[in-house]
């Protein structure tokens, strides 16, 4: 099957994931990838990612299927890490394969926008001074996800 969803503590191999998408079909002309990582600053040491086992996988599969149909993809990959991740560590990989670049890149944006506020993950920040705090949902992230509800499906 051309949809690949993983929720795991381990790091992922971007090269191997790209190779998988690349070889799905001779019809693949372009691949889009987004990789999110723990951004440093303000003394941040790490993020700890909690999730809702079972529901997470279900939602990510639904998102992937929605992207496959909406953007006429040849394949897509969603990998999300959980547990404690230090500054600089990769958190999430979104990968798409399509006949043309427009579909691949739009689908990549769609998937990361929707995943941010629509899949049951929560981030807790840990700072060098010992302080910890749960990350608040950002209004702009909710707007980005909502915007995909109001735009017509792209066929390009």
């Amino acid at each position: 099957m051309s949809v690949r969803v993983l929720v795991q503590q381990a790091a992922f191999d971007t090269g191997a994931e790209t190779a998988r998408l690349s070889s799905l079909s001779e019809q693949v002309g372009g691949m889009g990838l987004f990789i999110g990582q723990v951004r440093g600053g303000d003394g941040l040491l790490s993020l700890t990612l909690e999730h809702y086992p079972g529901m997470t996988e279900t939602i990510l599969h639904q998102l992937a299927q929605e992207a496959m149909q909406r953007f006429n993809l040849l394949g897509c990959t969603l990998i999300h890490r959980v547990g404690r991740l230090e500054v600089g560590a990769p958190i999430v990989l979104v990968g798409t394969a399509a006949a043309h670049r427009g579909a691949a890149l739009s689908a990549t944006s769609f998937l990361i926008d929707r995943l941010k506020t629509g899949a049951p993950f929560w981030k807790k920040e840990e700072f060098a001074n010992g302080h910890t705090a749960w990350v608040d949902a950002r209004e702009e992230d909710e707007h980005a996800a909502a915007a995909w509800m109001h735009t017509a499906p792209s066929s390009s």
Binding site: G36, E50, M55, T58, V92, K116, T117, G118, F121, D141
Partner: protein, 87 residues
């Protein structure tokens, strides 16, 4: 007929409540999430305090996002959590 509902808490809610979940016996065969929450808060000062202090609590019924007007039945899995922050 009555029965139990399995409730899960995640993230800040879990931490503030000091528990990962609980089993509760429904007082009727089916009821909206809002009614169940109201009953729980009446009998649980800690839960009342945390729910009062937490804006925008989300609910999932059987691992599917729902609303406080969604009805629960015995055997359901209910989850409460803050807005999601993945990615």
């Amino acid at each position: 007929m009555t029965g139990t509902v399995n409730i899960l808490y995640f993230a800040a809610l879990r931490e503030q409540l000091g528990r990962e979940g609980q089993q509760v016996i429904l007082s009727s065969n089916t009821m909206p999430v809002a009614t169940l929450v109201q009953e729980l808060r009446q009998h649980d000062a800690k839960l009342d305090e945390v729910f009062a202090a937490t804006p925008r609590i989300r609910v999932a019924i059987n691992q599917k996002l729902g609303g406080f007007d969604t009805c629960v039945q015995p055997g359901d899995e209910l989850a409460f959590f803050p807005p999601m922050t993945g990615g």
